[in-house]
């Protein structure tokens, strides 16, 4: 991994307690944000935070899609984001690696600190940011290229692996390096055994579950620190889903995974901590997954998990 920096942060470091007592907006059920926010701020994580989000607000035109979200995401763990449709969890996920920039009407306020640097600061390096915070989408979206080219796409574009006519003429073709990289990533994505002898076949010929694991392998190939997953198993059948879930648990040993899911059993199974978003783009509760599912602080969260609401 290269040592390039995103941008020195201009806000005051990672002092997470600084912004705890600000907004006093009252929610529909009469609870104040203050109470829930205090609850998740008091929570101590097993590891250091790698992402620290402060007062994040996202607007699509006039639509206020995300309201004052402030949480820390601890390193090498799985963080699940759950909530009803349209509650802003995908928006939240996409604002972590600035994919919302690609939507013309989107406007973001607040800060997302990644390794102590604000990714929304002036002059942030999007290429570097997205290399270090990878993303897997809801629908498997491999390129219409061979399996090998799909995995090697990122490294080739970033110059980590030199391939092609010019490097070959100059004697710098790194076929061996690429082979090793492709094998390692496909093994990490638990796909190697299934595609070992057809690396040069088109990726569109794979099944949906295989395609999604290929997308994970492609994401791993640029060596990210954080992997964002936007309902990665929602388009897959139960067997493919369970493979993806096993894979996510394995990935959490080396990577920080943030996953959006509609499936509460899935969140309960694989995540270490869970954030619950409810309508209006509000983060209602953020805590240890066991706590959220067994003894949530908020009545609304309990209703939602019990299926009475949302």
């Amino acid at each position: 991994m290269t040592e390039s920096r995103i941008e020195a942060t201009t806000t005051g470091g990672t002092d997470t307690d600084a912004a705890t007592s600000r907004s006093e907006t009252t929610t529909t059920t009469g609870e104040t944000d203050e109470r829930t926010r205090a609850a998740w701020r008091d929570y101590t994580f097993a590891s250091d935070p790698v992402l620290s989000i402060e007062d994040l607000n996202v607007y699509y035109g006039d639509d206020h899609a995300l309201r004052d979200v402030s949480i820390d995401v601890p390193e090498n763990s799985v963080t699940a984001l759950i909530g009803p449709s349209g509650c802003g969890k995908s928006t939240f996920l996409r604002s972590l690696n600035r994919m919302n920039d690609r939507i013309k009407t989107a406007r973001v306020e607040g800060s997302v600190e990644f390794d102590g640097e604000n990714v929304y600061a002036e002059g942030a390096n999007l290429v570097e940011l997205r290399k270090r915070i990878g993303m897997v989408f809801q629908h498997p979206n491999p390129f219409p290229k061979s399996i090998r080219e799909n995995v090697a796409y990122g490294p080739r574009k970033h110059g980590d692996v030199q391939r092609g006519l010019v490097p070959r003429l100059l004697g710098r073709d790194e076929r061996k390096t690429e082979d090793e990289l492709v094998e390692r990533c496909l093994r990490d994505a638990a796909l190697w055994e299934e595609v070992e002898d057809r690396l040069d076949d088109n990726a569109l010929g794979l099944s949906g579950g295989q395609q999604q694991r290929l997308c994970i392998a492609r994401c791993l190939a640029v060596d990210p620190e954080v992997i964002l997953m936007d309902e990665p198993a929602s388009a897959l059948d139960p067997i493919a889903t369970s493979k993806i879930e096993d894979l996510i648990e394995e990935l959490a040993e080396d990577y920080t995974v943030v996953i959006v899911t509609h499936n509460m059993q899935q969140a309960a199974r694989i995540s270490d901590q869970t954030a619950v978003f409810l309508t209006g783009g509000q983060l209602v509760e953020y805590d240890d997954t066991d706590k959220i599912f067994e003894n949530p602080e908020s009545q609304r969260v309990e209703d939602y998990i019990a299926g009475k609401f949302g």
Binding site: L126, R130, F137, N141, F143, P144, N202, L204, R218
Partner: protein, 713 residues
């Protein structure tokens, strides 16, 4: 479904009713096809009118019988209460026209007769709607078909009869009216029969509609096929006149066609049959060729002569060898020899190939033979390598057949590739030096195996020699130039408009302007070229000006199709690429444009199809001699001068700035020349023009296929 008849769940079409109905459909189809044949002059009308009339009458009566049988409940059918408004309307119009025509012409009421047709039509329409479906579908149709059949059979309408309507100055002879009536009758009866074959009702209507719609497709296809056949019939004799081929070259081309790598992967019966037929014909031709060589007798047809020599021309050899080499690369299995001797063989083969390639490169650069002590190096080494390769192929085949473990023998595809490479490079040597290469009667020669006067020569006046070579080359150069000029510009503009520019008034204006440019008449482009381009490039009409003008014409279509193709690339690809941190330009270059390539190629195919046959602008901006006596030497007339003045290297090409001819232009010249021009020359030129356009088309389709396979294997 209004009836108490039990509906069968499985209808195997086994009842007599079904079989008769199917026979009506088949008979109608035959009548339709024969009538169409008379229009094109393939079936004589004069003696056949009685048969047409009788056939129609029989079909009509049988159709009526079907309706009655179903109505009486003698067959299991499922008719609705009414055939519906559309059928009633159609029958009403049909009968209004029939009654009107009879009243005004046969009865002699003139224009008043057409007015009388209206109540008849209305009555038939009402009756059709009012009766149950089985009667409404069959009876009016049957009555029409029987009536027409009776009239034709009785000789009321005969080939010598002619309809001369009073309203306008035209005459329709019986030779046209009879086929037309037969075709209409065939359609009507076929539709009714198809409906009856499925027992009327929903399934009957679906069947009838399917028949009519598929006939329309057949009609469109037959127009296309007829156009090609018509031109081919008239042009092929003059194009092939005095063609002389050596049996060896012909055999190579035959062989080459058989192993064409673009074999479709579908395996339906028709395709299998066609393939079998092609293989049979090719086999027969091959046997005949062997016979020619062995007996030493010349094989001469009307125009074509096959010489009894086994020499192979170097150009077909290069083409066939090249294509085979590409195909072999596709199927090549990777070979990692496990033993030391295997590695040695692999190294040796690689070394030999490289040596051959190096020798060939030297020969190409110096353009002369490389020889040591009178022995040419390339063919010597080439033949040796090919021999070793062949031996390895044999060893591999024998080894795999006997099951003996031969770990050091490379797979057939590998050693076969080596043999092919040697063959291609030896052909190259022959092409460069012109020396023949071979053993005994089997020779690889530089030229003289094909003599095709019409295609290879310019034409000389007074009908001494008819030829199209200058025009063919002119067309090829102009189209190539236009493509090279227009495609990068159009694709670049499409990328900018789709990927970078916001959707705004500007892009919409560009869209409107592009569509307008595409509909601009070609003569306007020509006039613009003559007034604007020609004075700026040498002052005379020229190939270069024509390339630019046709390029302008190509631009809008390629731009439009490229934009559509790029728009249809899923946004998911762009998102995926962006999420990996890849920049927009890299994404466009490596993901978006490759995914859009099939669409872009489609645009180029369509555009080239238009500009290759374009005549009007060429009259203005190309304007060469009507019958040029020399082909434009664009490649050979490049001159490079190195000077001290900037830009230091001066490139000029007089041939590019000269007047020339092109195929559509020459065709126009032949047609308008009047006295002295032979009609067959025109048809021959047309055939070659069609061939060249279809050739560009084939290249385009192959390119699209290539990009498609690359995207979705």
């Amino acid at each position: 479904m209004s009836d108490a008849y039990g509906t069968r769940l499985v209808d195997d079409g086994g009842s007599t009713f079904d079989r008769v109905a199917t026979a009506i459909v088949a008979g109608s189809f035959v009548a339709f096809a024969l009538a169409a044949g008379t229009l094109f002059g393939w079936v004589p009308v004069a003696g056949a009118t009685t048969y047409f009339g009788g056939g129609l009458l029989a079909i009509g009566l049988t159709t009526a019988a079907l309706g009655l049988v179903s109505w009486r409940g003698l067959a299991t059918t499922t008719p609705d209460r009414s055939p519906g408004l559309v059928v009633g309307l159609a029958q009403g119009i049909l009968w209004a026209i029939t009654a009107g025509a009879v009243a005004s012409n046969t009865v002699g009421l003139g224009s008043l007769g057409w007015l009388l047709g209206l109540p008849v039509g209305a009555l038939v329409g009402y009756l059709t709607i009012a009766t149950r479906e089985d009667l409404g579908t069959t009876l009016p149709a049957a009555a029409f078909v029987s009536f027409v059949g009776a009239v034709v059979m009785a000789g009321v309408i005969s080939p010598t009869w002619a309809w001369e309507p009073a309203a306008f100055d035209a005459s329709f002879p019986g030779t046209v009216v009879i086929p037309f009536l037969t075709m209409t009758g065939g359609l009507v009866a076929g539709w009714a029969g198809a409906s009856a074959a499925e027992g009327f009702g929903t399934r009957g209507r679906q069947h009838g509609a399917f028949l009519l719609i598929s006939l329309v497709v057949l009609l469109v296809l037959s127009v296309l096929a007829f156009l090609l056949v018509f031109v081919f019939e008239r042009g092929v004799a003059v194009v092939l006149e005095n063609l002389v081929l050596s049996a060896g070259t012909l055999a190579l081309l035959v062989r080459f066609r058989r192993v064409r790598p673009t074999v479709a992967d579908g395996s339906n019966a028709v395709l299998a049959f066609v393939r079998f037929a092609v293989a049979l014909v090719l086999g027969a031709v091959g046997l005949g060729l062997v016979g020619v060589v062995l007996t030493g007798r010349q094989l001469a047809g009307d125009a074509v002569t096959v010489e009894p020599t086994a020499t192979v021309g170097v150009v077909p050899a290069l083409v066939a060898g090249g294509v085979l080499l590409v195909a072999a690369r596709h199927v090549r299995a990777s070979w990692e020899p496990a033993t030391e001797s295997g590695r040695r063989v692999a190294r040796g083969l690689r070394l030999a190939t490289w040596l051959l390639a190096a020798l060939a490169l030297v020969e190409v650069v110096t353009w002369r033979e490389v020889a040591v002590a009178g022995v040419a190096l390339l063919p010597t080494v080439g033949v040796a390598v090919a021999g070793v390769g062949l031996a390895l192929v044999v060893a591999s085949v024998l080894g795999s057949r006997s099951g003996v473990g031969t770990s050091w023998v490379p797979p057939v595809s590998r050693s076969g590739g080596v043999v092919l490479t040697a063959f291609v490079l030896c052909s190259l040597h022959v092409a460069i030096t012109g020396y023949a290469l071979g053993v005994g009667p089997l020779q690889l020669v530089g030229s003289g195996t094909v003599d095709w006067p019409f295609l290879m020569n310019p034409s000389q006046g007074l009908g001494i020699q008819l030829g199209v070579m200058p025009a063919v080359l002119g067309t090829v150069w102009i189209v190539l130039g236009a493509v090279v000029f227009a495609v990068p510009l159009a694709v670049g503009a499409a990328v900018f408009l789709t990927e970078y520019a916001e959707d705004s008034a500007f892009t919409r204006a560009v869209d409107v302007a592009t569509n307008g440019l595409w509909s601009t008449p070609s003569i306007v482009f020509g006039l613009f070229g003559l007034a604007f381009l020609v004075p700026r490039f040498g002052g005379t009409p020229s190939i270069f000006a024509a390339q630019l003008v046709l390029g302008f014409m190509l631009l809008p279509l390629v731009l439009i199709t490229s934009r559509e193709a790029i728009k249809s690339v899923p946004d998911e690809y762009r998102d995926a690429s962006a999420a990996l941190g890849v920049s927009k330009w890299d994404t466009i270059r490596d993901v978006v444009v490759p995914a859009a390539m099939p669409g872009v190629t489609t645009g180029v195919i369509l555009g080239v199809g238009r500009i290759a046959g374009e005549t009007a602008p060429l009259l203005l901006v190309l304007n060469g001699p009507n019958f040029p006596n020399a082909a434009p030497g664009v490649l050979s007339s490049f001159t490079f001068d190195v000077g001290l003045q900037p830009p230091f290297v001066h490139v000029s090409n007089p041939a590019l700035l000269d007047r020339a001819s092109a195929l559509p232009y020459q065709l126009y010249a032949i047609i308008t020349a009047g006295v002295g021009a032979e009609e067959s020359f025109g048809w021959g030129t047309t055939l070659v023009l069609l061939g060249v356009v279809l050739g560009f088309f084939a290249i385009g389709v192959a390119t699209r296929r290539y990009f498609r396979t690359k995207l979705h294997q």
